[in-house]
């Protein structure tokens, strides 16, 4: 029996970077392998000893303790260790011990050196650190589609041109343009083949009116002769550059000498911005809320288009969050129109992903009402109660379902005057019990979507002062940020949640994005910044000197990578006719994606430990 027929061979072949080896080399590797087993708690590599093997974990998990910086790393099935010692000539510096009973495939150091020299992919893998690996993966993911205009062809967005005869009068031309809703007309020769000139709406202003030319004269008196044309195969960026350079807004599209249509600056803008801006506009223009409900159903389509256009994950989340806020603003505005103006000042607040600009799909509604301190329950209570419950009902109809934890303005607890909100924060900060910390993490991410934002500013200011006096609170928030631990690996420790009828999947939000959000929030509180977006918070914490720029890079790269993977998953959901969710099935990921995901999880885990050490020293 050949070694290729063994299961071991399959396992090697599926593991990055061994999957980059050619058949003969892989066979050579498989033959050289020796297998060993260590029970849980066994020390595999002991500092000071010598190691001459590259260890590959077949099953189980190990932990590496780094004595220089106290950081730990965990490895699971498909991971390698021992190469650092090999690179040092065999001397082991960091202890590696088993977290679980583990089976290892051992590759001799001589073969490791040969592969490092002969196989570039193998060399890349073992010479790069995980944060570098993640960065290059991210780069690859995004490099796919840098600018959508480059990828699009003029032919994709041209529309039929209005063509006229040179003898048509100026007035008749204007009427034709108006009837056909065109901003330009092309003047053709008698054979209707050659373009003699172009008339745009601007010509009526700059030539007809400005020069006082009678409307009965023929159009060729005011047209621009021999307009610049473009080929339908040119890309969108070329069209845009041409327009910018010549300061024009219309380009006739000509293929092999014949006219095929017209492309305008508006077409390009529409194409580039896709639906979000359009959708936000439509939401604001809607005349009743039933329209808003149906517009909200276009969010999944907008998401698919944004991802297909290759936009950065942060921009996509920002766009989708803008749509979400437009919906809630419209709902509040319409409701107030029906109820009449509010009796006192208020700020309608949203929390969670909508506030953080992190939203990619419909989420639960998390909101609250911050009222001015002249609030009198007997006098004003009824109005705001009606406002909040109507808004909440409409949001539910728009797909933002009721918050299961009842964190909504329709709940009286979260519909209170400023002084009460201030007392809430004071209680959470001074007596940080688990429930308080949960509320604190929700309400530290607040954004005013409607009403008087200065009320929220006032609240923020008093909270900021409280925190500065109560540094101990950071320790509690830091401990709270440990709650959602990212999974450690993909085959073994990848915790796959069982929920409902779905298969075993990974909750990207809970196990990846939320832990990062929590860590970023602690850094932001420490830095005293009022920013809410996770990426912004990380950058601000870096500028304030709370974290190093390497740490900021690591966290941002991890965040971007997780968000990108989640977006791709949600696009698959939508295209399969399902609602977008956060539950990624490991099967949909390539082995490389799993690998990078694991790097991201490891980085998050590391920074969770950093946060815990930084703020908890001797305080808990």
């Amino acid at each position: 029996m050949e070694i290729e027929q063994l299961e071991i061979h399959d396992f090697l072949q599926q593991t990055h970077p061994l999957n980059k080896l050619d058949g003969a080399t892989l066979k050579q590797l498989a033959t050289a392998i020796e297998i060993t087993y260590h029970p849980r708690e066994d020390v595999v590599l002991e500092p000071g000893h010598n190691n001459h093997w590259l260890y590959m974990i077949r099953s189980g998990a190990v932990i590496r303790t780094d004595h220089q910086d106290g950081l730990v790393a965990q490895f699971g099935s498909g991971d390698f260790f021992g190469h650092r010692a090999i690179e040092r000539g065999g001397l082991i510096k960091n202890k590696v011990s088993c977290l679980e009973d583990s089976l290892f495939y051992l590759i001799p150091d001589t073969l490791y050196h040969t592969l490092m020299q002969e196989v570039p992919a193998f060399n890349d893998y073992f010479s790069q650190q995980k944060n570098q690996r993640l960065k290059s993966a991210l780069h690859e993911l995004q490099a796919n589609h840098d600018n959508i205009l480059i990828k699009s062809r003029v032919a994709d967005f041209l529309h039929p041109a209005l063509t006229i005869d040179a003898s048509l009068s100026i007035q008749d031309t204007a009427q034709l343009m108006q009837q056909q809703d065109k901003t330009s007309a092309l003047v053709l020769d008698a054979a209707e083949k050659t373009i003699l000139g172009i008339v745009t709406d601007r010509a009526f202003c700059t030539k007809v009116v400005a020069d006082g030319i009678p409307a009965q004269q023929s159009i060729d008196q005011v047209m621009t002769h021999n307009p610049v044309c473009i080929d339908p195969h040119s890309n969108g960026l070329e069209a845009m550059l041409l327009m910018t350079r010549l300061n024009i807004r219309h380009l006739p599209v000509v293929q092999d000498g014949s006219l095929v249509g017209m492309v305008t600056a508006t077409d390009l803008i529409h194409h580039q911005s896709h639906n979000p801006i359009y959708l936000v506009n439509e939401i604001h223009k809607a005349t009743d809320l039933a329209q808003v409900v149906s517009l909200s159903q276009q969010i999944p389509t907008a998401l698919v288009k944004l991802v297909a256009a290759g936009l950065h994950a942060k921009d996509i989340a920002h766009s989708i969050s803008s749509i979400g806020r437009a919906i809630i603003q419209k709902v509040i505005k319409q409701t107030i129109q029906e109820l009449g103006p509010a009796p006192i000042r208020f700020a309608y607040l949203v929390a969670g992903s909508l506030a953080r600009n992190d939203q990619t799909a419909h989420s639960d509604q998390d909101n609250g009402l911050l009222l001015a301190d002249n609030y009198e329950p007997a006098q004003h209570g009824c109005y705001f109660q009606q406002l909040a419950s109507t808004v909440s009902d409409w949001l539910n109809r728009c797909g933002y379902v009721y918050c299961p934890g009842d964190v909504m303005a329709s709940n009286e607890q979260w519909r209170q005057p400023l002084a009460v909100w201030q007392s809430y924060f004071e209680r959470w900060i001074l007596t940080p019990e688990p429930k308080a910390l949960m509320y604190a993490s929700i309400f530290f991410d607040l954004r005013c979507v409607y009403g008087d934002a200065s009320l929220l500013d006032e609240l923020h200011e008093s909270v900021k002062q409280l925190i500065q006096q109560q540094r101990r609170f950071l320790a509690f928030m830091a401990a709270n940020a440990q709650q959602n631990k990212p999974p450690l690996g993909l085959f073994r420790r990848f915790v796959l949640e069982q929920h409902g009828a779905e298969h075993k999947t990974l909750d990207m939000k809970k196990r990846g994005i939320l832990p990062l959000t929590d860590v970023a929030r602690v850094f932001a509180l420490d830095a005293g910044t009022a920013l809410i977006n996770t990426r912004d918070r990380i950058q601000a914490a870096c500028q304030a000197g709370v974290i190093s720029s390497e740490a900021a890079d690591d966290l941002i790269d991890s965040h971007d990578f997780l968000c990108t993977v989640r977006l791709q998953h949600q696009v698959k959901n939508i295209q399969a006719g399902q609602a977008a969710n956060n539950h990624v099935n490991p099967d949909e990921l390539s082995s490389l994606e799993r690998r990078h995901l694991k790097d991201a999880f490891e980085l998050i885990s590391t920074y969770q430990d950093v946060v815990s050490q930084k703020y908890n020293q001797g305080q808990l």
């Binding site: 029996m1 070694i3 063994l6 299961e7 071991i8 498989a30 033959t31 050289a32 392998i33 020796e34 297998i35 060993t36 087993y37 260590h38 029970p39 708690e41 066994d42 077949r58 099953s59 189980g60 679980e100 009973d101 583990s102 089976l103 051992l106």
Partner: protein, 229 residues
């Protein structure tokens, strides 16, 4: 223990009377491993037979797979798998388990060749198997047929190791608990899907390492005599 030593000594004396040649002579004149060696220092030949049934007097060996353990590490370069020629027709029952057809079998080696191979590989080593009634009994029956005597053997049986352990702990043994794949699961070894003699030999080898290392971890400085018959 003392019985074991005397038993093998008697087998050896008896065997030497038959004036062995070649691989058999080499095997018989190489001492069996020292029972007082640490269990991890011993060299093992880990063997698995696929057979047409459980009875060594009637049934035949269809294929064999083996690997070596040396210094506590399984050596993939020492893996072998071979089909064994037999005149007995396969029943559809055991074909489905092993997925070997008569045509495959025809291409195999004969039992004499297999025996010479094994004797060469086994010299000076302990023979590790899972459930010795198959490998041990078929091997001894074959030796009797080919050479007229049985072989002195140092057998380590992963099933027996586990059974003795459970008995000492006074723990009840569930019907399927001692099967190779259930035991592997207990030691958190990966689940293998393939079912052939070499995969099973590897699976047994990994189980043996796990058993030895777990007992050592619990503070028993295991010697070969603690795990062999």
């Amino acid at each position: 223990m003392f019985d074991w030593f005397n038993h093998n000594k008697r087998l050896l004396q008896h065997a030497l009377k038959h004036q062995p040649q070649g691989a058999l002579k080499h095997y018989l004149t190489t001492p069996l491993p020292d029972l007082n060696q640490p269990a991890l220092a011993v060299d093992y030949l880990v063997l698995d037979f696929e057979t047409t049934g459980l009875n060594p007097y009637q049934d035949h060996i269809i294929s064999l797979g083996y690997t070596h353990i040396s210094q506590g590490r399984i050596q993939l370069k020492q893996c072998r798998h071979a089909l064994i020629k037999t005149n007995k027709k396969l029943t559809s029952d055991n074909v489905s388990i092993h997925q070997i057809t008569d045509d495959d079998l025809a291409a195999g080696i004969d039992v004499q060749t297999m025996m010479e191979w094994l004797l060469t590989q086994m010299a000076g080593k302990a023979l590790a198997v899972h459930y010795q009634k198959i490998e041990h009994d078929f091997l001894q029956q074959l030796s009797l047929q080919l050479y007229g005597h049985r072989l002195p053997l140092c057998v380590v049986d992963t099933l027996a190791i586990e059974r003795r352990y459970l008995e000492r702990q006074n723990q009840p043994i569930q019907p399927n608990q001692l099967r190779l794949f259930n035991l592997r699961e207990q030691y958190h070894l990966p689940r293998y899907h393939a079912h052939n003699a070499l995969e099973d030999a590897l699976a047994t080898a990994e189980l043996l390492l796990a058993q030895i290392k777990h007992r050592q971890r619990q503070g028993y400085p295991l010697k070969l005599k603690d795990i062999s018959h």
